[in-house]
């Protein structure tokens, strides 16, 4: 039962140096907790903005003398594009009617107009996948080059901003994740190194009695895994507590909190992530020792 004994040694050491272990567990917990909150925020921003492009439509204005018989051909050519979900024709008469009804109470604005100043237009709805501002811009440009089309309007500024914000968020998220994970690995690394040196005398005796590298190292790997997993478990508990006690309660008075999504499946991975980081830290610490 040599494998079992490694667990015995690891648990003895966890108890013996409980303050060091508790401290590094708390540090890992804090790191993973912060990481979870960042993930929770980003996840919700992503979810909330995922459908935004669909809500945006592109308005394609047709030239005054646009021949109606070409209409179907232009509509189907636009519809054939990847980013487009639907195309609807709005005649200048319909548009004017619409304007009138919008200005119901301020009809005087239209007084003095001798004729309908509005052009025929096409309302182009975009697919969600058309998120990248670049692809929407490209579509607008290509459509505007078609003969008979005078202008293309779309929320280019907004889409570009949204795109940039999301890209920035992604980079920030990656950087924060890397920094925090490196921090956690470093904490485990230092802890295992300290524990190793504290037990130097004992390890020297183990070696003299014929212990292999694996026999000496296994307990430290287990210890790193346990500290990491415990930190992850605490993080998991804290995230659930935070969500169910705070967010759900806030939602009673502020219903906007109801729209927040809670990716519990992803949070379930926290103990595993912690364990993985703990093992990595321990392995690095031991790898740098000669024996």
């Amino acid at each position: 039962m040599p494998a079992f004994y490694a667990f015995t040694l690891a648990s003895q050491s966890l108890r013996k140096d409980k303050w060091i272990n508790l401290l590094s567990m708390l540090t890992i917990f804090a790191g993973l907790f912060i990481l979870s909150i960042i993930f929770f925020i980003f996840y919700n921003i992503e979810a909330a903005t995922r459908n935004l492009p669909e809500k945006f439509s592109m308005v394609v204005y047709l030239e005054d003398n646009f021949p109606r018989e070409r209409l179907d051909q232009v509509i189907s050519s636009i519809r054939a594009r990847k980013a487009v979900s639907s195309v609807k024709f709005v005649s200048r008469e319909d548009a004017f009617k619409e304007l009138r009804s919008t200005l119901k109470n301020s009809q005087y604005v239209l007084e003095g107009l001798e004729e309908n100043p509005l052009p025929d237009s096409l309302i182009v709805k975009l697919k969600n996948t058309a998120m990248g501002a670049e692809s929407v811009r490209q579509l607008a440009e290509e459509v505007s080059r078609t003969s008979g089309i005078s202008e293309v309007d779309y929320g280019e500024k907004f889409l570009a901003t949204l795109h940039n914000v999301k890209a920035g968020m992604k980079i920030t998220g990656i950087i924060l994740t890397v920094v925090l994970c490196t921090g956690i690995v470093f904490v485990c690394y230092s802890t295992v190194k300290i524990l190793f040196f504290r037990r130097n005398e004992e390890i020297e005796t183990f070696k003299l009695l014929g212990a292999t590298k694996g026999f000496i190292r296994a307990p430290f790997i287990i210890e790193g895994a346990a500290i990491g997993a415990a930190g992850g478990l605490a993080g998991l508990a804290a995230v659930f507590l935070l969500y169910h006690v705070i967010v759900v309660r806030l939602a009673v008075s502020a219903p906007i909190f109801n729209t927040l999504l809670f990716p519990s499946g992803a949070f379930m991975l926290l103990p595993l992530i912690g364990m993985f980081l703990g093992i990595s830290g321990a392995a690095i610490a031991l790898g740098r020792l000669r024996y």
Partner: protein
């Protein structure tokens, strides 16, 4: 079983042993003697690979260990039981666990560990001290626990560094009897001591060191 050929070892420019050549047969019991500082401990440490020779070659059980890689050391040590001069008992484990450690390191099963440890404790007459803490034992009792730990794994070679240094003459004699019993089972034994009483009229070979040199090997 143990062959030294022209072995030398120095610490920080101070020679501990030099030009040591001898061989010990399988199943032999040999004493190593000489004044303190003559190199007895160094010679034993060379055998269990705690020191590596600066020159010369060492073979254990036919295997040349002078150039052995670090990863091969544990496997050689598993065939050797050592009674350390400084005991090396672990204060955070009781007597049973200290002795069991030698078996756990070798991957023994729990049931086997139990019976072997109690057998070893019986051999050194300390069966009743299994649950004691090493620090609570007298020097002589600690010495016998170390002997029990060295023999519990049934090593091919048993090395003992001043095993009676802390004992009164009566206990020393019983320890020597224990070694003779172990030797009778076929174990090769090397005992380093400056206590003449241990080997006088023993009929065993005595290797005499002086200032790091092997000056004589004769049966006493």
């Amino acid at each position: 079983m143990i062959n030294f050929h022209g072995v030398a070892k120095e610490y920080e420019n101070q020679t501990a042993v030099r030009d040591i050549t001898f061989s010990i047969e399988k199943g032999e019991m040999v004493f190593l003697t000489g004044p303190s500082g003559s190199g007895k401990t160094t010679l034993l440490r060379l055998i269990y690979l705690a020191e590596r020779p600066d020159s010369g070659s060492i073979a254990i059980a036919g295997q040349d260990v002078s150039e052995l890689k670090e990863s091969g050391i544990p496997l050689v040590r598993r065939h050797i039981g050592v009674v350390f001069q400084d005991f090396r008992l672990l204060d955070n484990r009781n007597v049973f666990e200290n002795i069991a450690l030698a078996l756990r390191i070798r991957g023994a099963a729990e049931r086997e560990i139990k019976s072997r440890v109690f057998d070893a404790l019986k051999t050194v007459n300390l069966r009743h001290k299994a649950d004691s803490w090493p620090r609570k034992l007298s020097g002589g009792e600690q010495q016998r626990i170390v002997i029990a730990r060295a023999m519990v794994s049934d090593p091919t070679v048993l090395l003992a560094d001043e095993p009676t240094g802390n004992l009164d003459p009566d206990t020393a004699e019983s320890v020597v009897r224990t070694f003779k019993d172990i030797h009778a089972k076929g174990t090769t034994i090397v005992i380093a001591t400056h206590n003449r009483d241990l080997y006088r009229n023993s009929g065993k070979r005595v290797l005499r060191l002086e200032a790091g040199m092997l000056i004589s090997q004769e049966v006493c």
